[in-house]
């Protein structure tokens, strides 16, 4: 198959009468960093929820590496390689930073329940590897010193980073970042740009990004889709998007004649 990793074929999401997303179609190529932008309420997070199976599209389907993921449950889709972060942080509050990441590695665990009872070698080894892998990931985001603290005790910016680490721990093929820079100051956003570039490098990852911070989007995205009222109104390189009349109208409203 061509190097298209993820494709949405006219996916529609209807809540009662309202069409939150209306027959949206797009392709994301392997290794690409794509952006999904649009005014508030355009349906961006709904798209994410459809890609990850939290909502089942009322029409159309999502194709991952040529295979449709229609009707699959979120955990099956995650096991096929789509990982995500959430718009409003959904960490496991009363668990430690390390445990949050370890939960994401659960899908790769091979030992059975029984092994954990008898403390067999496969159990102890797998636990050790999992912990090592998690600590390495935390190191990348310099969170390893906080491994045993409760995730809810971390400052806001670090909680955002932990969500990304947790998503990475599922060994995804594509990672969906839902407003990762929200609430970050200028220097943190800059640091985030480098980190995203680095993880694309190290993990050969494809990234799909929802973001309002235009500097970040225009800075690192290779391809951008613009959504408004659930419909795709524009697609293309950052330069083309910046001066597309339709996009400006969508954001700033139509100039009074």
């Amino acid at each position: 198959m061509s190097d298209v990793l993820l494709e949405a074929k006219n996916i529609t999401m209807q809540f009662g009468g309202l069409k939150a997303v209306d027959s949206l179609a797009f392709k994301i190529h392997k290794g690409q960093l794509a952006g999904l932008i649009g005014p508030n309420g355009a349906g961006k997070t709904t798209v994410f929820n459809m890609l990850t199976g939290v909502y089942q599209p009322t029409e159309g389907e999502v194709i991952l590496e040529g295979q449709s993921i229609k009707g699959l449950k979120p955990f099956q889709i995650s096991q096929r390689g789509i990982a995500r972060t959430f718009q409003n942080i959904r960490l496991f509050k009363k668990l430690s930073v390390l445990d949050n990441v370890l939960i994401a590695t659960h899908q790769h665990v091979k030992y059975s329940l029984l092994n954990s009872l008898l403390l067999t070698k496969s159990f102890t080894e797998s636990e050790k590897n999992q912990k090592e892998k998690a600590m390495d990931l935390l190191k990348i985001f310099s969170l390893e010193s906080k491994a045993n603290e409760l995730s809810s005790s971390l400052p806001y910016g670090q909680q955002r980073k932990l969500e990304i680490v947790r998503a990475l721990a599922t060994d995804p093929k594509i990672i969906l970042l839902d407003e990762p820079a929200a609430g970050m100051n200028h220097s943190e956003t800059h640091q985030l740009m480098d980190t995203i570039a680095k993880i694309r490098e190290d993990f050969k990852l494809t990234v799909l990004l929802i973001e309002h911070d235009m500097k970040l989007v225009m800075g690192i995205c290779e391809n951008i889709f613009v959504l408004d009222h659930g419909m795709k109104i524009e697609e293309g390189q950052p330069a083309k998007i910046q001066n597309s009349k339709k996009v400006i109208e969508a954001y700033l409203g139509i100039e009074e004649a």
């Binding site: 997070t45 929820n49 939290v54 959430f86 959904r90």
Partner: protein
């Protein structure tokens, strides 16, 4: 065929009794998202309050409208007082602690009232005073319809409309709904959540008081454990109808009453309670929020 009509009458009148108590559960759950297990025991205390006041006033053997009014007021007064006390002493300190803790406290209060009742009122069943003469409305061709069957139904329907009016049409109702969706924000808007919650308990408990007099009238045996089974059934009815929805409580109660009646009539009397629960489970699996309940989709 007339047996079926008689079963219909029995089922509806049984259901309307569950409705009166279910309304209390739904109101408290609607506002506080809390199962008030002690509600059925407030109902029991209402029955005993009427019993003792009737004996004290010496009116326990001359049934008349006057007696009905006096006993209704007594029962509503004592139940509301008790409801207020329970909320103030047991539930208020736990206002924002986890749901399970509030539930255990509610169970504690319920056990306290039941076993305390056995110590204070004595464990032996007592006879509820004659409140009103039951006159036969219709009798013939194998169908017996007495005034008691109808009064309970009318009162529960009236209570439903009154509550609907209170909650959806009055300023106080708006405040109650505000507290129900978000107590802290409601207090920012000048609503005093504590007073609203106390008011909810007063109304819910008063309803239980009305229920205890009407049920006492029809089934004149009262004992400290009378609230247990009928409370469980009424609670299940409230959940069946969609906990938190006023009309849901009455609908669920009628379904509960009718299903129990038909189960005993046409299937087997020994499996009465089991099948009542069976029906509940089937409905909840297909309608997870109950028949009229609004299924809140969790925002991701």
């Amino acid at each position: 065929m007339q047996d079926f009509v008689q079963h219909l009458i029995n089922g509806i009148s049984l259901g309307s009794i569950y409705a009166l108590i279910a309304l209390g559960y739904t109101m408290v759950y609607g506002i506080l998202k809390m199962i008030n297990f002690a509600h059925s025991d407030v109902y029991m205390v209402g029955a005993f309050a009427s019993y003792y006041v009737a004996r004290w006033l010496g009116i326990d053997s001359n049934p008349s409208i006057g007696t009905l009014i006096i006993l209704l007021l007594t029962s509503m007064f004592f139940c509301s007082l008790l409801g207020l006390l329970i909320e103030r002493l047991a539930y208020r300190p736990l206002r924002n602690s986890p749901k399970l803790n509030i539930l255990i406290t509610a169970i504690g209060v319920s056990l306290f009232l039941e076993y305390g009742g056995q110590v204070v009122f004595g464990a032996d069943p007592k006879v509820f005073p004659d409140v009103m003469k039951d006159f036969v409305l219709f009798s013939g061709a194998g169908i017996e319809l007495t005034s008691f069957d109808i009064t309970v139904l009318i009162v529960s329907i009236l209570a439903m409309f009154a509550l609907d009016f209170l909650i959806y049409k009055t300023k106080l109702g708006k405040a109650m709904r505000a507290v129900s969706s978000n107590p802290s924000v409601a207090s920012l808007m000048g609503v005093n959540p504590d007073r609203i919650i106390s008011f909810t308990f007063i109304v819910g408990s008063a309803l239980a008081g009305v229920g205890s007099v009407l049920v006492g009238m029809k089934y004149p045996k009262i004992d400290p454990l009378m609230g247990m089974m009928i409370g469980l059934k009424a609670f299940v009815a409230a959940v069946l109808g969609g906990i938190g929805s006023i009309s849901g409580a009455v609908l669920g109660a009628l379904i509960m009453g009718l299903s129990e009646e038909m189960v005993v009539a046409y299937l087997s009397s020994t499996y009465r309670d089991a099948l009542a629960f069976g029906i509940l489970i089937v409905i909840l699996i297909f309608k997870p929020a109950g028949i009229l309940g609004k299924y809140s989709v969790e925002k991701v």
